[in-house]
Each structure stands twice: as structure tokens, then as C-alpha cells.
Symmetry: T
Subunit: 144 residues, 12 copies
């Protein structure tokens, strides 16, 4: 079982961002924790600031992965293009956010990409990723 | 460790509701799965159709539980009173939904109670509860 | 044939409310007129000011009644929970209002519960109930 | 007692329109059922696709009829002119719709003409007309 | 002269809630202060988290009290049913809030129940109640 | 100098409509007053309930009249088609209303046709027409 | 008969403002034309850029004038205070604008002060004032 | 193959309207160009300013034509009735506009009738019609 | 202890305004009642129709008064400048209204200045001022 | 004559996307059909998921092409940057969409890039491209 | 070269206002810094809390100054009258704000007066004025 | 002192864009003027049409520059991702625009990225950059 974990713009800055929202860990550290908690799963971690590159990754995932976990960062609220690529991709897909978006700015309440995924997790800092892995394994195993 | 799992209006009908949104399981069956997956944890399950009774339960939780998982059903979109009681309660709290709300009616995009919780999970049918338990254990252990 | 006629908050005050909107009759008097006009039908009349109690009644109706007529009072404009319980209930269901809502306050134009019913009647004072009975009999007989 | 039953644009197509919304009957068939159910009442049935012609009919009704039942079709959501003519007409007036408008497109939630009538019935297919006749007879007899 | 002082959801938590908004006193302490400041008046204090129970209380007040002071808590912003029951009740009625609502969340700017009362006081913490008693005595004495 | 005075839907009912808004005079009486006040001007008066007929009249006015005064009735708030025909017509054009629209329903604040005219007069009952004639004579004489 | 003609902010600049909207005449010239056209009427002309001074003038008009014509300039769209003073003043009152406001910026579509007047004239440049005088004379003579 | 080309209000004025939006050609000239470019197709051209007449034409098209091209003029933005008649008609249908509507007034962004057609072309002046014919021939031939 | 009582535009007209909203008393009479009810307090009463003069008064209050009671009249709904001057002023401040604003026009629901004050009282006619004095004395004494 | 045909994000997936909206053909197949229908024209086809790359292509088109046909995919609804680059480019430009956007999600009704083009075609699946080529040839030949 | 620097309501309080938004300097101190940085320029500094007085100053500037720098304070968001006077004035004009308005309350996002100026500077505390002088000198010298 | 000047999409086209909005200079020419006016400062100029590349540049600026001046072009109104990267970057940052945005299209009033900067300058064509340099030097020197 191989899972693609995509991170969008500014998530490479984790560890330096506001810890109230994002926790204290770097992205590398989060990846390490994920691998330790789920040693039986193969992961590919990918971060980019380019909307187009995220779309390319999603389009190519179908033949190489069993599921996608995506934190689209700021593109979550604006990108119809990213949403369309997720909708087209027939893998299990989960959108995660580190911060609890309902308690942030108005423009972060507009969820565009989430409706291209199967489910949504928000607010648990690094644990959002862990729960997403925990869930996507169940989804992949159930075959839905 | 003792966790309160609250279910709001109409969740007693699970198993009979639209399975595309809610899955096929009854609430009893979901409780059984939760207990089986987390045998080391003590749970109280409580369902009611009364908004006031949910508020009472939350107000009294502080001395009896280590965390709250709540699926407020339709009150998620309308109840300022429920949101206030959650905000007042200083336990770890997670809001869960069986269905993926971003893909449903407009009035379900208005999340009132969620901002009284620490995080939000939506769209994984019965697994939404399992992920919530998985996460709240981490939150309780970390003491935040 | 047995029909449940549910009345929500403040409808127990009929007779004392503004007769321009609600007519001059008490709820008891309306029940009497209904029974007189449709002597062949068995009715249960139920009024409550509790949203949760209305939901309970609807959830339990499926095994005891052939159809539901509901005047949700003020909950008509706010209760997603009530709407969900009506949607789940597979009996013929009609929402009635005594007053002609389109000519009242803005917040009464927001119809939340009505979309959980099969049809909608508004503006005929006590006759709204009579027409609802007249119609639900046809619906029950036609088996739709 | 003589009642005018007005049908607006596209209602001449009944029987060919989407039966989920409109039922299976032609307008002629509906007229036949109405006459059969209320043999003691005299009816005039009139259908037109012209907004102006509906207004003319309403303006002239006062001297020839005891009440008006109108299904304004698409003009229900746009015609201030039709609303004004209904408001001016001092006969009992009921607006009917075959389909349950609250469950349809957003632009059908805008009810312009309904506030020129005394009451509103929606969602019972051909039975909407029958209930309207049932009610308008009571209104005419009561003299209000 | 007998005055009913109603408190809605979560007001039983006073003393533990954010003192910037609500002050430092418990509801019991506030009641004590009120009685001390107005020893000549008879009071009944009632708190509940149930919307339906507030409505019941208001409906029954007419024969037992000379005036109503109500802090509807979160129901102030959502309850059409509560508003209707206040409108029906022909006693002097004042809505009070501890916090200064204009400086809080957007959803607290929507005042539904206030228009069922005769006046509105907001922002003076426990003193909001005292001013309400001070005013309602004048209203009752003046007979309006 | 020849002036076309167009009246839209329901203005043939003047004299019977609410005199607070529309004054007490019939359309015939208003025409008589206009002719008496401006005996040197030739008028054509035309009333119809058909939107299409108003458009036809405006399209044909250019060769037969020196100016147009129009009271579009309810079409003032909805008719893009009427607005377009007025915009195309290169005669002096004035929109008049008997009632003071700013003090009426929300949907009457939407002025669609007015922007196809050169100016706007509202609220002076029959005198609105007189002022329009007074003004259009100046406009025609000035040649603008 | 004595009429007060009030001009609000920036109307002292007429003659220098955009002639497409405001015509070519100075305010002095407009006053001269008014006096020439209505020699039998006594006028007071008053212009100020101060909102408060306009309100003072209106409050004091009742004992000194038979009617008020006001061009509130930019205050037309923002001043609740000016609107209230007009509403209180029981003289005939007409609001005039030189330009045709429906064809200008969005914020000029918000008419606050107009609803404190009896009628509204817009778009005829200096002739807007003449028509207002023509009308207010009729209103004063009729005693309404 | 026979195609109905419907033109709504004010399109009979082409040639005289603003050429920036509508081009320089009269409707007759456009018809001539269409016939010359597609000599193998039979056309009926019909223009009317009446909404009701457009609806009549569409209702009767099913037995006489293979496809409909409609430029609804101003009714495109307001007519639910026209939209319903197009939706009912099971022929290939294309809505065309001469001007590029996205660059015009706000009220022209509201497309009501277009959703009753299969596709939409806007902005190519007379060529909009030619492209519509080019396309509808393909649609008719493909039988969809 | 010295309290400044500011009254904004049109409040000098009290006694002549609509008594349903404002009561029957003149401003002078209200001042007399205040002084009689609170003989131990020194008051300065000041009314003006000028927004700028209200701001000046507030800016200068800090050295001369212990608290401010302000009825901003129509400026309550529009004046950001007044709100800013209140926010800057570090005295106890209460906004009062004679009428119950929630039951009046939409534009009176927009409360701009209130958020520059510590609390808000609305709907008790002249008693609104008395309650404000009653409260501000407590606030001043408590030193908050 | 050389035409640039630009395709934005996810259009490389055609053939696999929902055929109700997009038809059954791959992008390669569509290109083949275009070349076959217009053998005399030279085309460059370019697809990318990067917004920036589309902008680069448009900026460089002026010296290498006679016209641009663009299907911006999801960027049609969000990209001000793409719109600006189209506005700057002085070639004939047409926006095309395979699906009929007026019948899809709300966020697809927001057309940002279209106003940077000369015209708009939507809803004809692969034929949208053919009609665009058909039209742009006319536009290039006419030199406008 | 002579420049008018206008300051609106509450700017006379600088030094005492919230330094996060406004910096620590008094208006006098800011004037001193400006003169020191631009010793070759003649300045007039003027502050008032009256909207009407700002308008007067702007109307009279044309003959006495080469440019205007204005900080309208709270009137920036509400004053159509001020905007009109700025639009009429044909001098170079710059609007400045000390605080960074995009990060403040919603009602401060409404910029009414700014569109009457040539440019806009916001967020640099006292340096906003210096940059405005730096720029207006260039504008005056360039003669645009 | 080293300053990064970032230019977003389409700013490489300056000199060819509408000079009313953008002035006549190319980006190269603007850079030349900046260097000439501030010869003591080191600059890096960077333009790209890629949102992702702008984010990369900002993320890497912290170690190489003392301040950032950014003209985000069209991304100013849409890019949450760019805003987040600016917010994270702890250098002095200024957003500049050549044109005066308040006088342009509605969608340009939505300022997303500006709130990630310390201040905002708009409307001075090439001088916007000069003023930004003038200001950022002060900000860097002051160390805030």
C-alpha cells in the first residue's frame, strides 16, 4: 500500500509559522512521526508552492498510489483547477488542515478543493495527518 | 480515561437513513465497533433529540470525562446555545459528521457549533467516530 | 386510516393570538371542526413547545400512522433537525400554516422544514388544516 | 357560484412535462377531475402564455366570478404587474403550484405574485387544484 | 408586584465564563444582589437550557407575574419560537445581556427575540439585570 | 408638438386603487386635467397590460411624436426589454410614478426602465404627469 | 406663499461641475431663472456644506415657509439625521437632483433622505428645480 | 432540415442600435447572410416583442422544426416562463447574443433562459448566428 | 460626580415627534425628571445637530466629566467619526435610544457608534436616560 | 493564418472525465478533428496545468499567431492574472468551454477571464472548439 | 509651491490614540517632521472634526494651493459629500491613512473618498504623510 | 541595505499596457529610475507570471534582503497562498500598484495579499515604486 501525501504552498515553512495554528513541528519532523506510527505503509511526501505542480501530481497518482492525503494550504480556498483534478482522480482522497479553519478568517471558510475529496479533517495540528493515514488505510482496505 | 460520545437529533435513525451519506450501520453497531477498536478506553454513549439535553450533558461533562466527541446532527448549523456550552467546557472536544458536508445543501455549510470544538472531522461515515477517538486519545495524553 | 396532526410552539395559544393572522379559534375548536368534517378518519392531535419532542413524535409515527400534518410554528424557519426527521419519515407529510407567510416578516420567508414534507399550505387559517386532511387522504389512498 | 381557474405559461404542456414535478395528467384531464369532484360549481378554465392576458382576465373577473384560483407558472417568480392586478382584485384568490417549489431551483423561491393572493398551496400535483377549490368554496361561503 | 427573571442556556455557568464578557459573579450571587437592591419586589428566578421550557414559562407568566426580564442566552439570535411566545405575552418585557453584543461575533448581531420585548439592555454585566428591574418597576407602575 | 403618454399594467384601474398611493382620480380624469392644463399640446394616451405592446409603441414613436412620458407600472422593476426599447428611442423620455416608490416594498426600489429615460418623477399622484408634461415641453423646445 | 430652497454640499460649485450631469448654470443663475418663471412666489435660497446646518434650517422652516425644496447633494445617500428632520417637518417637501441618479454610481442608488419627502424628481438639470416649484405650489394650494 | 431562428424584443431595431455592441447590420441583412452561408438549410425567421408569443412559438416548434436558435434579447435575463418552455422543448436549442454580455451591465449577467438551451454563444455580432447554425447542424445530424 | 448627557440631531424636537417611538416629553422635561431623580449628581445637557460638534464635546469631556451618556440620534447608524471619538475617550460611556430600534427600519439596525460605548439601552422612552444614569453611577463608583 | 489553441488545467484528462459534461473524446482526438475540418489553417495546440505558463503563452502570441482560442478550465473562474494577459493581447480571442456552464455549480458562474476575450462559446463539447475556429477565421479575415 | 494638508475627525488626538495603529506622535510633531524633511515647501496644516468644514477647505483650495494631502479619518468610509468636493477639485490630491486599513474592521474597507483622489497611501504611520509629500511634489512638478 | 522588488503577472508588459492606468514606462525604465533616485541602495528586480515562483522568492528573501516591495498584479485579488507567504516573512514589506485601484473593477477591490504587508500604495504609476523605496528605507532604518 502506497500513499501520496501532498503539501501545498507555505507548508515547507512549518516550524516557523504561528504555533497556535500550526503546532511546533517542521514538515520533516511530521513525516518522521507518520512513518514511525505507520511503519507498514509506504509514503511519498511532496511539497510545492505551484498550483500547477500539485495538479500534475494528482493527475499522475492514479497508477502509482492507493490513496492521496492533501493539505492544499491557501489553494484550498481559491483553486477550482485543483478541485477539478481531485474530482477526476478516482483514488480515496482526504483533505487535511493543521489549524481549525472555522475559527480563522472569513476567506478561509470558503472550501473549494474539499468537495473534490472524500472527507475532511481540520484542527489537530500534526495529528491531522496521522488521523488521515489512519482513515485512508481503512478506506483503501474496504475498497471504497 | 473516559470519553463521552454525544449524538444529536436523528442519529438514532442510523441504519435507516440514506446510506450514501450516512453508511449502513446503526448507532448501536457503531458503538460496538468503537469499543472493539479501543478496548482500553471507557465510553459513555448518549443520544437525544433535545438541544437542551445536549447542553446539560456538556455542562456536566467536566467532572466525569476526559474528552467529548459530538455529532450535533442538525443543531451543528443552527445552535448558538450549543456552541456556547462547548466553548465553556474546557475538555478536549471534537465535532464529527458521518457525511461529507461540503457536498451537501447550502444550509449545512454554516458551521456554528464546530467553532466551540478543537477540531472537525467530516465525511468518513462510521470511521469519523473512530478517527475522533484515535485523535482525542492523543489530545488527552498530551494534556492539551 | 390514522393521521397525526402535530402543532409546534405557541399554537396552544390560538384564540388569543392576532386574529388577522391566525383566526379566532382555539386549537381545541379546530380539532373539533376537523373531526366533524372527517368523521371517518382517526386523528391524534399533539402540541408541544419542544423541538426535541416534535422530532421524537415524527420518528415514532411510522408504525402508528398513515400520514402526518405538521404546523411547526416558529421552528419552520430555523430547525434543520426537524427537517431531517421529516425527510427520514417515509409517510405522506404536509406542512400547514394558518397565516399567509409571504406577507409577513423576512425571517418567515426562510422555509427549512417544508422541504422535508411533500407539500405546503399557507394562509387559510383553520381551513389550512382541513385542506391538509382533504389532501392527505387522497395521498394515502393513492399510496404515494 | 362561479370560479375562474387561471393557468399561466407552459401549463398547456402538462402531461408532457416532468412527471416528478407535475404529475401525469393533461390540463384537460385535470379540468375534468375538478368538475367531477365539484359538480355543483360552475368553472371557467383559461390558459395563456401572455402575462398581459392574465392581467386582463383578473381585472375583468370582479363582475363575473366569486373567486380566482391561479397557477401563474413562471410568472409567479417575476411578475410585479401580475401581483399588482391580484392585489387590486377584491375576490377570494388562491395561488396553486403542482410541484413542491421549496425543493426546486433558487429562482423559484422568490414568490412575487403569491402575496397578491389570500393563500398558497404547493406540491400536490393535480390535487393542488382540488384543494384550492375545496378551500375557495369555504372562503366564498364565509364571505371573506 | 412579582417579576419573573428568566435565564436561558449556559447562564447557569456564570462565574466560570469569560469575565471580560460576563463579569465574575455566579447567577446565585446576581440574584442575591437583585433582591438586596429591590427588597420590596417579589422575584422568581428560573434558568433552563431548554428552548421549549422557556416558552412554557412565558406562556404561563400572564396570570402569575407583573413583568418579565429575560436573558435568552444563545437563543436570542436564533429562536423564532421564543420570539413568538414573547410577542403573545402582554406583560412588560425586557431583554438583557451581560456582554456588549455589538462588540462580539457577527452571528450575535442578529437579534430575533428582542423584537418580542419592549426594550433592550446590553453590556453592563450583572448591572444589566439591576437596570432592567429598575425600569420594569416604572413600566408596571405606569401601567404600560 | 405631440406627446405620447404611455401607461402600463393596472393603471387602467386608477380610481379604484389605494388612494394613499395613487390618488382618487381615474386615468380618464387625469387625461382630462392634462389636456386642460396644456391645451396647446397634442397628446396620445395609451394604456396596455402587455409588455410587448408597450415596446411596440415605443419603437414606433420616433416618427410620430416629439417626446414620451411613460408610467411603466409594475414593469418598471422587472423589464430589461422595455428598458432596451427606451434606450434605443432617441426622443426626450420621462418616467413617472404616481406613488412615492422609495416608501414602498423592496422590490419597487429596483428601477430597471428608469435608466432608459432622461429623468424620473415619483410621488405626486396625478401631478406627476403634469410635471412631466411641463418638463418635456422644455426639453423638446431646447432640442435636447 | 414662501418657499425654502435648500442646497447641500458642493452645489455652490455648479457651473464648474461636469455639465453632462449638472448642466452649465451656476446656482445664482438657477435662482434667477426660478424667480423669473414664478414671480408671484417668495423664495429663500440657502446653500451649505454642513449637514447640521441643513437640519437646523429644516427644523426652523415650519413657522416661516409653506414648503421646502431640497437638493441634499451627497447627503442624500448617507444622512439618516437629515431624513429624520425632514420626516418631522410637516410642510410639503420635494427632493430634487440635477443629474439622473439611476445612471450613476452604485452608492448613489441608496436614497436615504428621499423617504422623508413627499416626492422625488431627478435628471432634468436646472429644470428639476422648476418642476419642483411647479409641483409644490399645487401641493400647498391643495393643502396637502 | 428546418431551423427556427427566434429573435426577441428590440432585435427588429438592429442596424440602428449601438454598433459597438450589435454590429451594423439589420435583421433582414443578417437573415440574408445566414441563407447565403447555409443554402442547403430551410429557415424560419421570427421576431416579436411579446414574451408570450415567443413561448407559443417554442411550444409549437417540436412538430415543425429540427432545431431552435434563439436570441431572447432582454428576456434572457428575466423570463422564467421562457426558460420553462425551452426546457420542455426536446429539440436541439442554442441561445445566441450579438454582444459580449460579460462586458455589459450587471443585470445582463443573470442568465435565466440559457439554462433551458443546450449551449450558449455570445459576442460575435452577426457571426453569433452563423456559428449557431454551424453548430446546430452538427447537433441535429448527430441526433443529440 | 459630573455627567455629560449628549443628544444628537432632531432630539431637540422631542415632544413633537411620533409618541409611539419617542414618548410625549420634551427634552427640557426629560432633563428636569433626570435632575429630580438624581439630585445628588451634577449634569451637563447638550444638544446639537452637528456631527463635528458632538465629536468636539466628546474629545473635551475627559477633563471635565466622570461619564458620558449619549443619544446620537441618526448618527448612531452612520458615523464612523463619532464612533472613533467615543472609542478614544476613556470615560464610562452609555448609548441610549428612546425607541426600540430592533422594531424599526433596516437602516436603524446598523449600530456604528454603539461599539464605541460600554453598553447600550434602547426602547424605554425617557426612562432610557434614567436607567443610563442609574447604571453610569455604578460604573463610575466601581471605577471601571 | 496561424491559430493558437490553449487548454488549461485538467483538459489533458479529456476522454476520462464525465462525458455528460465533456463528451467522450481525448484532447488528441479533438485536435485531429479540428485539423481535418480546417485543413487550410495552421494550429498550435498547447495544454498546461500552470496558470503562469498560460500567461507566458498569451504574452508571446502576438508575434506568432493571428488569433487565440482558449479553454481556461478552472482558471476561467478565478484568474485575474490570466484575464489581464488576455486583455493586453490585441489578437482576436475566443473563450470556449466544453460543458454548458450555466447548468453547473455556482462558482462556475463567475466568469473572470471571459471578459478579456472577444466572445464566448459554451456547451457544445468538442464542437465548441470547431465553432471557435469557424468564428476566429471570420474575425481574422475581417481584420477586427 | 504650497501644499494643503487636511486632517479630519479625531486626528487632533494623535499621540493619545492606539499606537499600534497610529504611531506615537502628536499631529504637531508630525507637522514638524514634515517641515524638516521638506524645508523648501510651504505647507498649511488644518484639522477639523466637521465634515462641512473639510468640504469648504477643499472648495477654496484651487486658488491657494498646488496640491492637497488629506487624511479624512472616519469620513473616508462614509462621506459622499467629501468625495464629491475632492472630485471637483482639479489639484493633485492624495489620501493618506496612518494605519493599514486592510487589517482593520469591515466598515473601514469601504473607501468612499479615496476615489476622489489621485492615489492612496495607507499603513506607514507618520511616514504616510512624508511619502505623500514626496509624491505630490513629483506630481505637481510633472504638471499632472 | 538590499531590497527585493517583486513584480507579478503581466507587469513585464508595462509600456504596452493602458497608459491611463499604468503610465508609459517599461519595467526596465522604472528600474533605471529607481536606481538613479536611490543610488546608495542595492536592488534585486524580479518578475514572473507564476504564483508559485513569487512564493518561493518571498520564502527565500529573509536571509538575503532587508525589505520587500511587491506588486502582485492580478494575484493581489485572489491569492491566499501569496498572502500567507508574505505574512510568514518577517521583513518590512510594502504592496504597490501603479493604477488607483479604487477607481477600477469590483473584483480589484478585494485585497487579499495586502494584509500580508505592512502598508499599501496605489495610484501613482511608476512613482508608486519610488515612494515604496522611500518608505521602506525609513522602515528598515527604524528597525521596525
Amino acid at each position: 500500500m502506497k500513499i501520496l501525501i501532498l503539501n501545498g504552498p507555505n507548508l515547507n515553512l512549518l516550524g516557523a509559522r504561528d504555533s497556535n495554528y500550526y503546532g511546533d513541528l517542521t514538515l520533516d519532523k511530521i513525516e518522521e512521526i507518520i512513518k514511525k506510527e505507520f511503519p507498514e505503509i509506504e509514503f511519498e511526501f511532496f511539497q510545492t508552492n505551484y498550483e500547477g505542480e500539485l495538479i500534475n501530481k494528482i493527475q499522475n497518482a492514479i497508477n502509482n498510489f492507493n490513496g492521496i492525503i492533501i493539505n492544499p494550504g491557501g489553494y484550498a480556498h481559491t483553486s477550482v483547477a485543483l478541485r477539478d483534478s481531485l474530482t477526476e482522480c478516482k483514488l480515496p482522497k482526504i483533505e487535511v488542515h493543521l489549524s481549525h479553519l472555522v475559527n480563522r478568517e472569513n476567506f478561509r471558510q470558503n472550501l473549494i478543493t474539499a468537495s473534490g475529496c472524500d472527507g475532511y479533517i481540520s484542527g489537530f495540528k500534526e495529528n491531522s495527518y496521522l488521523a488521515a493515514v489512519y482513515l485512508i488505510i481503512k478506506m483503501i482496505r474496504k475498497g471504497s
